[in-house]
Amino acid sequence: MIKVQHEDFDIGAEIAALKADRTDIGSIVSFTGTVRDAADTITEMTLEHYPGMTETELERIEKEAHTRWPLQASLIVHRTGTLKPGDNIVLVVTASEHRDAAFDAARFLMDYLKTSAPFWKRETGPQGSKWVEAKASDEAARTRWSPRKDAAE
């Protein structure tokens, strides 16, 4: 499931909803990304996105994860708009019978989301505001997952 929203999310509540009334799930992995201000340089972060393509892209990535691993359920929540340091940005939850699939799929979802979901961060601090630049390390992280032979790039 995909959710793109300004509102905060409750990780416990999202996981509870995902496993409600299910007894077949054996492993649940969650990843939460938050607004980082390690050096007191950020007072707020604004996330712009491309409505329509964002949902399409997140659904494509989620579907891809389900073709690669035996997932029983998954969830991607991404916030938009203006956030403060410490605020939640993104939540990825994966569920499977055994832990390997859930762990690997969660990492895959984040690596792909980082490099293909149309979001752009703008940081504001005492020195003004600037667009966050894409990191080569994110692109490298994505390449750890080889494309499937039948995948259209």
Partner: protein
């Protein structure tokens, strides 16, 4: 054809979206960016580093050599930084 601009591409062009009649001999994403650059100083500035700009055709990522024929909506934006 509907054109959309995001993040610093939007700031530089000064607009978020527009409908344009693209000449028939503009066949690819790269050619469209070259054509847009000629539309004034804002566009020349926005597409100055065209090689770093990413494009999407009808909500799907597209390479610069992708054909634009039949596209309804083309978006231009910097490399994404979500997550």
């Amino acid at each position: 054809m509907r054109l959309l601009y995001f993040a610093w591409v939007k700031e530089k062009t000064g607009i978020a979206a527009e409908d344009v009649d693209v000449p028939g001999d503009v066949a690819t994403v790269a050619e469209l960016m070259a054509w847009l650059k000629m539309r004034g100083p804002e566009f020349e500035n926005a597409f100055d580093r065209a090689e770093v700009i990413r494009a999407a055709i009808d909500h799907a990522h597209a390479r610069h050599d992708a054909k634009i024929g039949g596209a309804r909506e083309i978006a231009f934006f910097p490399p994404v930084t979500g997550g």
